[in-house]
């Protein structure tokens, strides 16, 4: 069920194109046309980063440019490919599946006259933006231009107010219709200057909220921090207060604030529902790490990072490389394709890790091995990949033992505490899903049904290891029997129910037990995804429905 919801959240390529046109009130088309008129000449070599569905790609190719277009989403690229083939532009367009972080090493220096990125930079983490800007500087031929078209928050107060007044309802509507959203770009002018570009705003649309920047490189290289300076900063014995060396986002400490409490509360009940609390991806310091300190990698779900930091702060000095996992925990993000080798590579390349430490060993969470291809990371970066322990609390012992795991560290367990936490998380979502319609349409059933669902779920969580059956569906059989035994006791000892109500409750409890047993399987790390039960759940649901409609007719009840 949760997976169906996640599926709905995914954007299809067609929805995406429609969504961004909606968000920009159609002015994105104007921006594209202006860009074509001002910069595209026949024969010029263009690199388009994040081509999406290829709308701009084919326009540029039709004007005679040779376009190399990259994107990270295979579905988007397929759509672009179709556009290119339909217009017979194959000889002028080269589509590649590639992450923006890799362009610096995949193309020869000075190989493009123009690099175009429209609505791309706002999707990248700040460190990655900086990394890509540097790579672009290498790829641009002398006199070449970098063109950035993106959304920004207008600088002037009145315009900003107008922007938010239009933007908030518009983005909600767009998200509901197309599941497309964009984030406005921040501080891009400062970053362009920092990476050595001379930038100017070429055009502005929508009251200054959609802009096109033209950036070019002056003859002399910009003032970049040299790697020697970074290395020196990394190796000095840091005096208190801690000064993070260049390239490090900051220091993470174990602490509790009102914000962390609120996030914990949200995560306890509604963890499945986006927006997920996120940490800005990048390199962080825990304790006082130095050039030989271990490098731990993790995803950018707020809870993941905080639990890891809480487990190691004060025990180990380490570098913490937070990769972009779309704000999802590492196991689910890796399984769902949100946390991949590309994300780890991007985080590593954009962090200047090479200059901060003098070893090449990455420690990845073992629970991302289902999605992060370790060999790809090894080949692309030359770093060694070591699978750390399953649990964050084992990290200090693992490091102490010289990156050696015991079997207890590599096998997941599902103790009572975790079971109770996970059942609460799952109930937050299913409670809304099931009990909200009940509250609206069958109000008199709300309290008994809530009590049954919540009682059954927690009972299931507690007795899970002792229920016979290998998967959730099999375990739902004893759960159903126990629930029905409870109903029998209730009606015979306490409150005799009329036969019609007894019949209804039998069906309802059977349905709820099967649902709880089968769906809560997804919360257990020891069983397969709950999707495995969908087929049987549907069959049982239909059978229960048939009994519900036909039995009263057969028995002659009104």
């Amino acid at each position: 069920m949760a997976t169906v919801f996640m599926k709905w959240l995914e954007t299809s390529p067609k929805d995406y194109e429609r969504g961004i046109q909606m968000l920009t009130l159609g002015r994105l088309g104007t921006l594209r046309r202006d860009l074509l008129d001002a910069y595209i000449r026949p024969g010029c070599r263009v690199l388009e980063i994040g081509c999406g569905t290829g709308a701009l790609t084919v326009m540029m190719a039709q004007r005679g440019a040779h376009v190399t277009a990259i994107d990270v989403a295979p579905a988007m690229l397929a759509e672009a490919e179709e556009k290119v083939v339909r217009r017979a532009l194959q000889s002028q367009v080269d589509l590649k599946l590639m992450d923006a972080s890799l362009i610096g090493e995949r193309f020869p220096a000075g190989s493009f006259d123009l690099i175009v990125a429209v609505l791309v930079f706002s999707e990248l983490a700040p460190d990655l933006q900086r990394h890509v800007l540097r790579a672009c500087a290498r790829l641009l031929a002398p006199g070449g231009y970098l063109l950035l078209g993106d959304e920004v928050v207008p600088g002037r107060a009145r315009r900003r107010l107008a922007y938010y007044a239009v933007r908030l309802p518009l983005s909600l509507l767009t998200w509901l219709l197309t599941r497309t959203g964009t984030t406005p770009l921040r501080d891009i002018e400062a970053m362009l200057a920092e990476t050595g570009y001379r930038a100017r705003m070429q055009a502005a649309y929508l009251g200054g909220s959609l802009v096109l920047y033209e950036a070019r490189l002056p003859g002399v290289a910009g003032a970049e921090v040299s790697s020697d300076a970074i290395r020196a900063a990394a190796q000095q014995a840091w005096p208190a207060p801690f000064v993070p060396p260049p390239g490090v986002v900051g220091r993470l400490r174990r602490r509790t604030t009102l914000r962390t409490l609120l996030v914990d509360l949200w995560a306890l009940f509604l963890r499945i529902i986006p927006p997920y609390p996120k940490v800005r991806p990048g390199l962080y310091a825990v304790g006082r790490p130095h050039a030989r300190s271990p490098v731990l990698v993790t995803g950018n779900f707020d809870l993941t990072v905080r639990r890891l930091v809480a487990a190691i702060d004060g025990r180990v000095d380490a570098w913490l490389l937070v990769a972009d996992s779309a704000g999802i925990n590492v196991w689910c993000a890796a399984g769902g394709g949100y946390f991949t080798a590309e994300k780890v590579i991007a985080a590593l390349k954009s962090s200047r890790m090479d200059e901060l430490v003098d070893h090449h060993a990455l420690i990845l969470p073992q629970l991302c091995a289902n999605g992060v291809d370790g060999w790809k990371v090894r080949q692309e970066t030359g770093w060694g990949v070591h699978w750390g322990p399953v649990r964050a609390v084992d990290v200090p012992a693992y490091l102490q033992a010289g990156r050696k795991k015991t079997d207890a560290m590599r096998w997941v367990r599902f103790p009572l505490r975790d079971r109770l936490e996970m059942v609460t998380v799952t109930l937050g979502f299913y409670g809304l899903l099931i009990l909200l319609p009940v509250l609206l349409f069958w109000r008199h059933l709300f309290w008994p049904l809530s009590a049954s669902l919540i009682g059954l779920s927690y009972f299931y969580a507690v007795v899970l290891p002792w229920l016979p059956g290998r998967d959730g569906l099999m375990k739902s059989v004893p759960l159903t029997l126990i629930a029905l035994a409870g109903l029998l006791l209730y009606t015979s000892l306490w409150n005799p129910l009329p036969v019609e109500r007894l019949f209804n409750w039998t069906l309802a409890l059977t349905g709820l037990s099967v649902f709880a047993g089968a769906e809560l399987q997804g919360m257990s790390p020891l069983m397969r995804g709950e999707q495995a039960n969908w087929g049987w759940e549907a069959v049982i649901g239909v059978v229960l429905g048939l009994i519900y409609w036909s039995a009263p007719l057969a028995m002659g009840w009104s």
């Binding site: 169906v4 599926k7 929805d15 219709l177 399984g335 073992q366 629970l367 091995a369 289902n370 999605g371 291809d373 370790g374 060999w375 699978w387 399953v390 795991k405 079997d407 590599r410 096998w411 997941v412 290998r470 790390p525 020891l526 069983m527 397969r528 995804g529 999707q531 495995a532 039960n533 969908w534 087929g535 049987w536 549907a538």
Partner: protein, 83 residues
């Protein structure tokens, strides 16, 4: 767009996912195994053990497998399949 159509159209796909996920199991080709033991490092449910004498991995207790695919992805010799 009509959400209804998409939902009904997605049902066969969900049915297929459910069937596949129920049935997926590990096929191990020990002859290809070079004893790298990445499977042992990656498996969270203890299905893989190193046979240190034979320099091979051992697949055991297949019913514990949760079909996460970690061992398949990490095996450099393509000695493991999940189907």
């Amino acid at each position: 767009m009509n959400r209804e159509t998409t939902f009904w159209a997605s049902l066969p796909e969900h049915w297929r996912i459910a069937r596949t996920l129920r049935r997926l199991q590990i096929y191990f080709y020990p002859l290809k195994c070079k004893g790298v033991w990445e499977c042992y490092e990656a498996c969270p449910v203890g299905c893989w053990m190193p046979d240190r004498a034979g320099h091979k991995a051992i697949f055991r207790e297949g019913e514990r497998c949760i079909a996460c695919g970690a061992c398949v992805l990490q095996c450099p010799e393509d000695a493991i399949e999940l189907r």
